[in-house]
Subunit: 535 residues, 2 copies
């Protein structure tokens, strides 16, 4: 029996409470649909029964590949309510990438949006563990009508309404696995725990300043770090989730107006999109935008504030449930010149209230001096660090070397204790908030018969923060155009991972031991940028 | 080694973070004193070293008997930082009551305010476990100068500045013991855990709506349920603690003006005091008052709101770290008539976000219907329920019967899921937020030679919420006046526990088995009160 005072932490408790306390309040808005908290909990219960009725056992993985529609929010409660583990798949991945994730996670079931079904269809018959594919047909984009033959309604019909306990026996059990591209090219499955998701939700509430009147707009993909735990956090606070299928400036402004949105999260891309939309105008209240992926520029911060937005700058990785640190605003900055203040706010900051410790260390794991100049690797520890990579003890051991999580990001520690990133140890490009492995892109390019070798780095991009650029050495006597190489890559991996530019070079800069010096390539590309970050 | 992702929860982490993130921000204000967060952490570290240097071992109890001055706030971090357990003693207890708590808790050390030292002095030599008494001399009231001979400065001189880890090995370890009067007359030691204190702090932050700009006025005694975990919660959010020695209307208003106080907690007594002070006036911002002990009356709520206060009504017991439930405000109430809205807000409500489940049950522990009429006992479970009573397994087993904590309070469950108290199963009077055992008062009265029997109940009191009233049967041929009996009681137990009134009666109403029917006495006394609660 559970002790009176020792109830395992789980975000399931958030939906239980909100359904009890706010049964008739609007929990989810999507187009013309409205789900109250009572209906939200009822649908999660029904889906959980349906999963069990479909053969899903405790600990089984259930994959979802959906845009930010209500079924995806429901999944964040229904799957763990069934005792299973949610695997939310990036909707922009290629067929082979999706196949890899489904096979590696050992998912028993896949729930996929009808419009995305064609991505899965070519490999559907050959999946190693998926017994069944369920198609969600969203009237807003029903796809080509092919589907898997089993719809979400069919799934619901297997469910029941009998209440299930919004509880778990082991709070350190896995609630979800989020696949992320690392340096190796093969995505790794980052495991979140019920405890970590619960605690991180409180961190989100505190730092984004959610209240019981929050109206949250879903501009951040839920497949990305489980939307930084926000499906759980906003449900904890009994706020209203506003779903949207397409992240477009006009749609965002329409929803802000219609629902008086108080909060949204997103990569800098989203922030830029909001600012540049023709509909952009000054709000008569404060809307909080929590952003990560690249620091907002001083110009952006000033522009946003003029329109009535409050910008909260956070930093983290998939391995840290999304945000780990926050640029904690200091009242002392109120008096600074706007440009200087924005410079302070562009730093990645300090650990969130639910974090343990953020350090910047040299290769021997000694803390670097807090001088704002000495570079070191950013490492973290705490309840908001993943349990480890799924079925990959070697990668987990490496990431947890010395009892700390190694971010692979390089930064400095300022005298005020704020961390600022300066470079990235891992070969990753962060584009629109998503990781792109440079090695994966390089391998795709090198597979072209005319190419001898290639080096890919991230270069500044106004819309996406960064995009990959390739430096390519062709074989003697061979020819290939930039567009030909880009199309070649798009045929192999997700289109958003393809380079925005290809530069043909005679040779790549290398160390004496033959290692490509990407730093030199980055220096050149980023030279024009002030405040170079994440190069 | 602790896992990378499994860091035990402890409120110690809150002071670590705030000292790192807000080193120069004012953490504590008291009279002319100001402590920055850096200084707050440094003093907690120094005191922790001093405790260890004074022979305090991990798990030892250290008692504090201080008003709400900075040393008391420091104790909430210094004592657990030393690995010890804080026993905060009610400053209004009598000599014998303090002796009982010191002996029962097995405290090794007592830190006492110089003005309160005379309470302890008569028994100081005979204490079973206390090795040393430290006197805190507050210039605002240095007492009669007698003291224990060892001052707080002497204690500090034994300390050091070497950093100590703001961490614990076992989050379910005990952080503090709070003595509460139950029905037996003997106070029981309610044990709080690091985990419970940590989680409850987040609950306080969410429900009282604390922000990083919070300025919190210490009107609630820190010896009462560790001030509902607020020493930890406000430190978590990096707010400013405003201490005060005496809770007086003029002092409160002066501090509100001087520091632009945003939050305060307190019993209805405090709310009434604020409202009735000659200085009362309309604020130009919202100040949140979180109150418990008795529901605020409709009139009070309306008056407070007119002055710019927001009232958050909570309910709990010492056994639940202070507040367990909250009258969660519903937007649907905005449209109600003020009196009807206030009636909704007077209910004890629903579990806080950090709670597990609140139920109203019949004697067989079946849930009563949610009809707003059927009475049952209020029971709770969750991480904000105590570990148990210190050194009292029998009382713990009784309180935890059936795997739930039994509050002893009787209430109904409304159709909207809100609990409302209707009566109290335990014989306790809640006066100014403190429990008074009626049995203890009865025993004191009956010890008077002229008295045959006595029954004590709580009666409404404008200032204190409730105060005890005694119904007394004198022995044949004996005489005793009301004031004589009250003085007799005051000579035996804490003065605030003495009845406000004594009514001499020919006999007490009894059941056929001879049990006094206090319900009948209460009916009569409370008949005049609308919305009778906690009779």
């Amino acid at each position: 029996m559970t002790a009176v005072w020792d109830i395992p932490l789980t975000p399931l408790a958030f939906l239980r409470r909100s359904a009890e306390v706010f049964p008739d309040k609007t929990a989810i808005v999507y187009s013309d649909r409205r789900l109250s908290y009572r209906e939200f909990a009822a649908e999660a219960t029904r889906v959980a029964h349906a999963l069990r009725g479909s053969g899903i056992q405790p600990g089984d993985r259930v994959a979802y590949m959906l845009p930010n529609i209500p079924e995806m929010l429901v999944a964040h409660f229904a799957v763990p309510l069934a005792g299973a583990v949610l695997v939310a798949i990036n909707t922009r991945l290629s067929t082979q990438e999706v196949r890899y994730i489904l096979d590696h996670s050992g998912a028993k079931m896949l729930v996929v949006d009808a419009a995305l079904h064609p991505v899965v269809a070519p490999v559907a018959a050959g999946l190693k563990t998926v017994d069944e594919i369920i198609t969600v047909v969203d009237p807003a984009n029903p796809g080509d009508g092919s589907g898997s033959g089993v719809t979400y309604d069919d799934l619901l019909a297997r469910g029941g309404n009998e209440p299930l306990p919004w509880a778990v026996e082991d709070e350190t059990g896995c609630i979800s696995i989020n696949y992320t591209s690392g340096t190796t090219g093969k995505p790794k499955g980052v495991q979140y725990s019920h405890r970590g998701a619960y605690l991180n939700s409180f961190g989100e509430v505190v730092h984004s300043g959610h209240t019981f009147d929050s109206v949250y707009l879903w501009t951040l993909p839920m497949f990305h770090c489980n939307g930084w735990c926000t499906p759980w956090a906003v449900t904890n606070i009994g706020g209203t989730h506003v779903c949207l299928r397409e992240v477009r400036g006009d749609v965002i402004w329409r929803l802000i107006d219609e629902h008086r949105v108080t909060h949204l999260n997103g990569a800098p891309t989203v922030v830029t999109m909001i600012m540049r939309a023709p509909e952009a105008r000054r709000l008569d209240y404060v809307l909080t935008v929590t952003t990560a992926g690249a620091p907002p520029s001083p110009t952006t911060i000033m522009q946003m504030e003029k329109l009535g937005f409050r910008v909260v700058h956070v930093y983290g990785l998939t391995e840290t449930y999304g945000p780990y640190s926050v640029n904690q605003y200091q009242r002392a900055w109120d008096g600074l010149e706007p440009a200087e203040r924005a410079r302070q706010q562009a730093r990645q900051g300090v650990g969130m209230v639910c974090a343990d410790a953020l350090r910047v260390v040299d290769p021997e794991m000694n803390d670097v001096p807090a001088d704002g100049a000495t570079m070191g690797e950013v490492i973290m520890r705490g309840n908001n660090v993943m349990l480890g990579y799924f079925d990959d003890p070697a990668a987990t051991d490496k990431a947890f070397a010395g009892g700390w999580f190694h971010s692979g990001d390089l930064g400095v520690l300022h005298p005020d204790g704020y961390v600022e990133l300066r470079d990235r140890a891992k070969d990753v490009v962060v584009s629109g908030g998503e990781n792109i492995s440079t090695i994966e892109v390089e391998q795709a390019i090198v597979s072209h018969p005319a190419v001898v070798e290639a080096a890919v780095i991230g270069v500044p991009d106004e819309e996406w923060g960064e995009r990959p650029k390739a430096f390519v050495v062709l074989a003697e006597g061979q020819e290939a155009t930039e567009s030909e190489l880009i199309e070649h890559v798009k045929g192999l991996i997700a289109r958003y991972k393809a380079p925005k530019a290809v530069e043909l070079v005679g040779e790549l800069p290398k160390t004496s031991t033959g290692k490509v010096q990407k730093f030199e390539l980055r220096e050149k590309e980023w030279a024009a940028e002030a405040g170079r970050i994440r190069g």
